[in-house]
C-alpha cells in the first residue's frame, strides 16, 4: 500500500497541475524527484529529522496526523453505511445495478481538487473540513458498493436456497447468511476505499481543511526556502505511516471478523 499511496501523491500533483488552481503545485513532482538527494545527503536527512523532532515537534505532527485520520474515519463511516445499503439494494433490485454503479463510477472520475472545491459555495459547507468529508465519502462509495454487490453475488446460490427452504425470512437470510459470507469481500472494498482516502485527504488543506496536507502545502508555498522540502517530506512520510497503520488495522479486523469456517 505504500506504493499505492505514493502513486496517489503523483495523481494529486497531476490533477492539481492540470487544473492550475494553485501555482507551484506542479513543483511537488520536483520535490519528490529530489528523493535520492535527501537520502544520500546526510545533512538533508538530519535536517528532516531535526524538523520533525525539534522545529515542528512530533506532538504537533501527530496532531495533524490524527486530524487526517479523523477526516478519513468519519467520511468512511458514512460511506460504509450508504454504500453497503446501496449494495444490498442493488443486489435485490438488479434493474438498479446499472444506474447506481454508473453514478458511483462517475463520482470517482471527478478530479479530487474539483470535488473538494465544488462544495465551497454551499452555505452550510463552505471552507473547512465539511467539504472534504463529503468528497472523501463520495469517493469511497464505489469501491465499497462494488465489493458489496460482488460479495453478495458470490454467495453460493445453494446456500441461499437452502436457507430460504428452511424458513429464513429475507431479512434473516441477509443478516445471518448473505452478509456474513460476503463480509470478507465487503471489507476488502472498505480497505481499498480507506487507503485511497488517506492519500486524497491531503488535498483537504486547499479548501481550508485539516490533516497532513498542511505540511505539503506549507512546503510548496515556501519552496525553495530552507525547511520547505522538510515540510513536504513530513507530509508525505506521515501520510504513508498512517496508511500503513490503517492497513495493519484492516488486517486485524479481517482476521477477527472473518468467520472461522471461511478462513
Amino acid at each position: 500500500m505504500v506504493a499505492a499511496a505514493s502513486i496517489w501523491y503523483l495523481f494529486i500533483a497531476d490533477t492539481a497541475a492540470d487544473n492550475d488552481v494553485v501555482g507551484g503545485v506542479a513543483d511537488l513532482a520536483n520535490g519528490i524527484g529530489e528523493l535520492p538527494a535527501l537520502v544520500s545527503d546526510t545533512s538533508a536527512y538530519s535536517s528532516f529529522w531535526d524538523f520533525v523532532v525539534d522545529d515542528e515537534g512530533l506532538g504537533t505532527i501527530l496532531g495533524h496526523t490524527w486530524d487526517h485520520a479523523q477526516l478519513v474515519g468519519t467520511s468512511m463511516f458514512f460511506a460504509v453505511l450508504i454504500a453497503t445499503a446501496l449494495g444490498i439494494l442493488v443486489h435485490r433490485v438488479k434493474a438498479l445495478a446499472g444506474i447506481v454503479v454508473g453514478i458511483s463510477s462517475i463520482l470517482l472520475t471527478i478530479p479530487s481538487l474539483a470535488l473538494f472545491s465544488i462544495f465551497i459555495p454551499v452555505s452550510w459547507i463552505g471552507i473547512g473540513d465539511r467539504g472534504p468529508l463529503i468528497a472523501l465519502g463520495l469517493y469511497s462509495i464505489l469501491p465499497i458498493l462494488r465489493n458489496t454487490v460482488t460479495g453478495l453475488e458470490e454467495v453460493d446460490a445453494a446456500v441461499v436456497e437452502s436457507a430460504k427452504g428452511m424458513g429464513f425470512s429475507a431479512f434473516q437470510r441477509l443478516r445471518r447468511i448473505e452478509l456474513p459470507l460476503a463480509w470478507p469481500v465487503i471489507l476488502t472494498g472498505i480497505r481499498v476505499a480507506a487507503l485511497l482516502n488517506v492519500g486524497i485527504a491531503a488535498i483537504a488543506v486547499l479548501v481550508g481543511g485539516s490533516g497532513l496536507g498542511v505540511y505539503i502545502n506549507d512546503g510548496l508555498t515556501r519552496y525553495p526556502n530552507p525547511g520547505s522540502v522538510e515540510r513536504m517530506w513530513t507530509g508525505v512520510v506521515f501520510t504513508i505511516l498512517l496508511a500503513l497503520i490503517l492497513d495493519l488495522i484492516f488486517t486485524l479486523i479481517r482476521k477477527f471478523t472473518t468467520p472461522s469456517g471461511l478462513r
Binding site: 436457507a163 427452504g165 472461522s260 469456517g261
Partner: protein, 411 residues
C-alpha cells in the same frame, strides 16, 4: 440395512408388498396446481393433482425438464403456484406465510448448501433456532441427530469445508430433520455423490426411514434410485403430467403405456425380481435329493425317476453337500460325499429373487439351493420357478389395473 454386493437394488425388508392395495392417509395434497412462469404461455406444471401418502417415500421421477423439481418446490412454496391449492396436513397452506410453512418441512437439495461460516452443530440447529427452542433442547437434539446419522460427536465444532461429500450430505439430512418435521422434501439428494457412497447413503436412509416414518417426497431422474427408494413412484411426463402412480413393483410388472415402458427401460423384469423374496414364493421341493448314506444304485434310481439331470446329496446335518450327475453315479462311488461337485454356495430364505437368479446362473447345476438359517436344505429355485413368479407378478399387476381402472393411481 446392509447391501448385498450382488444386488444393485436392495429394498428394506417388508418395505414393499406386491399385492397390498393399502391406502395410507394423505399428508399433502396438491389440487389443480398450475405454475406458469412469467413470459411463458405453456405452464411448467399443468393442473396437477397429487396426493402424497403419509409416512411413505413418494418418488417423483421423470426425464429432465418434466417439472419434477418445480413440483417439489411448489409444495414448500419455494415456487409460488399460479393457481390451485396446496393442502398440508388438512390445512390449506396456499396463502400462509411461506417462511413459517417451510420451518415445518425439511428440505434437502443436491448441492446440500450447508452454511460454510457455521459449525456443523449450528447448521443442524438452524430450524430449531428459528423456532426459538432453548439452548439445552437444541444441544440435545444436535447430539441425537449426529448419532442418528452415524456421525461422530466431535463433528459438532467442525466446519462444512472439513467434511467429505458423503458426510456433508448426512449433515444436510440431519439439518433437514432438525426440528423433527413430519415431511421431508428431497431434491436429488444423492445426485452429486459417487456411486459407492450413494448406495451406502441410500441404504442408511432407508433404514432411518423405517424407524422415522416421515412423509418424504423425493425427486430423482434415475429410475433405479426411484425403484430402490420409493414406496410409491409417480412417473412424470411433460408439464408434470402423471403418467403412472403406483408401487415400484407394479410399475415394473405393468408399465401402463409406452412412455412409462420407455422410461423404465429394458431390464424392468429383472429389476422387479428385487421385490420378491425367496421365502415368499413356492420353491420347488420335487427336486431329486438323497441323503449321504444312500447307496449309489439307489441314488441312480432316484435320478432316473426324475426329469432332472443331476441330484443333490445332503450331509448328516441335512445341509446341501454335493451335486451328482449320471456319470458320477455310473462309477458307483462308495461314498456319495466324495463324488460329484461340491455345493459351494446356498441361498438364504430372505434373499431376493434377484439374488436367486444370480446364484442359479453361477451354479454348475443351474439351480440355487435354498437353506434356512441353520443351513438345512429347504428346496430349489430354478429358472422355471422364477419364470412362474414373474408371470404371476405381471398377471397380478394387470388384474389390479383392470379392476382398479378408475382409481388406479392418478390416471
Amino acid at each position: 440395512m446392509t447391501s448385498t454386493a450382488s444386488s444393485p437394488i436392495d429394498p428394506a425388508p417388508n418395505q414393499h408388498s406386491a399385492t397390498g392395495v393399502e391406502k395410507p392417509a394423505t399428508m399433502i395434497s396438491l389440487q389443480g396446481v398450475t405454475k406458469t412462469y412469467d413470459g411463458s404461455v405453456i405452464p411448467a406444471v399443468d393442473s396437477l393433482n397429487l396426493d402424497i401418502p403419509e409416512g411413505e417415500i413418494l418418488v417423483l421421477v421423470g426425464p429432465s425438464g418434466c417439472g419434477k423439481s418445480t413440483t417439489l418446490r411448489l409444495i414448500n412454496r419455494m415456487i409460488e403456484p399460479t393457481s390451485g391449492r396446496i393442502i398440508f396436513d388438512g390445512e390449506d397452506v396456499t396463502s400462509v406465510n411461506p417462511d413459517l410453512l417451510r420451518r415445518r418441512i425439511g428440505y434437502v437439495i443436491q448441492q446440500i448448501g450447508l452454511f460454510p461460516h457455521q459449525t456443523i452443530a449450528q447448521n443442524i440447529a438452524t430450524v430449531p433456532r428459528l423456532l426459538g427452542w432453548d439452548k439445552a433442547k437444541i444441544n440435545a437434539r444436535v447430539t441425537e441427530l449426529l448419532d442418528v446419522m452415524g456421525l461422530p460427536n466431535d463433528f459438532k465444532d467442525r466446519y462444512p469445508k472439513e467434511l467429505s461429500g458423503g458426510q456433508a450430505q448426512r449433515v444436510g439430512v440431519a439439518r433437514a430433520l432438525g426440528s423433527d418435521p413430519a415431511v421431508l422434501l428431497m431434491d436429488e439428494p444423492f445426485g452429486a455423490i459417487d456411486p459407492i457412497t450413494r448406495d451406502r447413503l441410500q441404504n442408511e436412509f432407508l433404514r432411518l426411514q423405517s424407524e422415522l416414518k416421515k412423509t418424504i417426497v423425493f425427486v430423482t431422474h434415475d429410475i433405479d434410485e426411484a425403484i430402490k427408494m420409493g414406496d410409491r413412484i409417480a412417473i412424470l411426463g411433460e408439464q408434470s403430467r402423471i403418467a403412472q402412480f403406483d408401487t415400484p413393483e407394479r410399475i415394473l410388472a405393468y408399465p401402463i403405456d409406452d412412455f412409462v415402458a420407455d422410461f423404465i427401460g429394458s431390464g424392468s423384469t429383472l429389476k422387479g425380481l428385487n421385490f420378491e423374496r425367496v421365502r415368499d414364493i413356492d420353491i420347488s421341493t420335487s427336486f431329486p435329493v438323497v441323503s449321504h448314506d444312500t447307496s449309489a444304485t439307489e441314488a441312480k434310481t432316484v435320478l432316473d425317476a426324475s426329469p432332472e439331470r443331476s441330484l443333490l446329496v445332503l450331509d448328516a446335518k441335512s445341509h446341501p453337500a454335493r451335486w451328482l450327475n449320471d456319470k458320477d453315479l455310473a462309477a458307483t462311488p462308495a461314498d456319495l460325499l466324495a463324488a460329484g461337485v461340491e455345493v459351494t454356495s446356498t441361498l438364504p430364505m430372505h434373499a431376493t429373487l434377484h439374488d436367486a437368479l444370480e446364484e442359479l446362473l453361477m451354479s454348475n447345476a443351474g439351480q440355487a439351493t435354498v437353506v434356512d438359517n441353520s443351513g438345512v436344505y429347504q428346496g430349489i429355485v430354478d429358472i422355471e420357478v422364477l419364470a412362474d413368479v414373474l408371470k404371476g407378478m405381471r398377471a397380478a399387476a394387470r388384474r389390479h389395473y383392470e379392476v382398479h381402472v378408475d382409481s388406479a393411481g392418478q390416471s
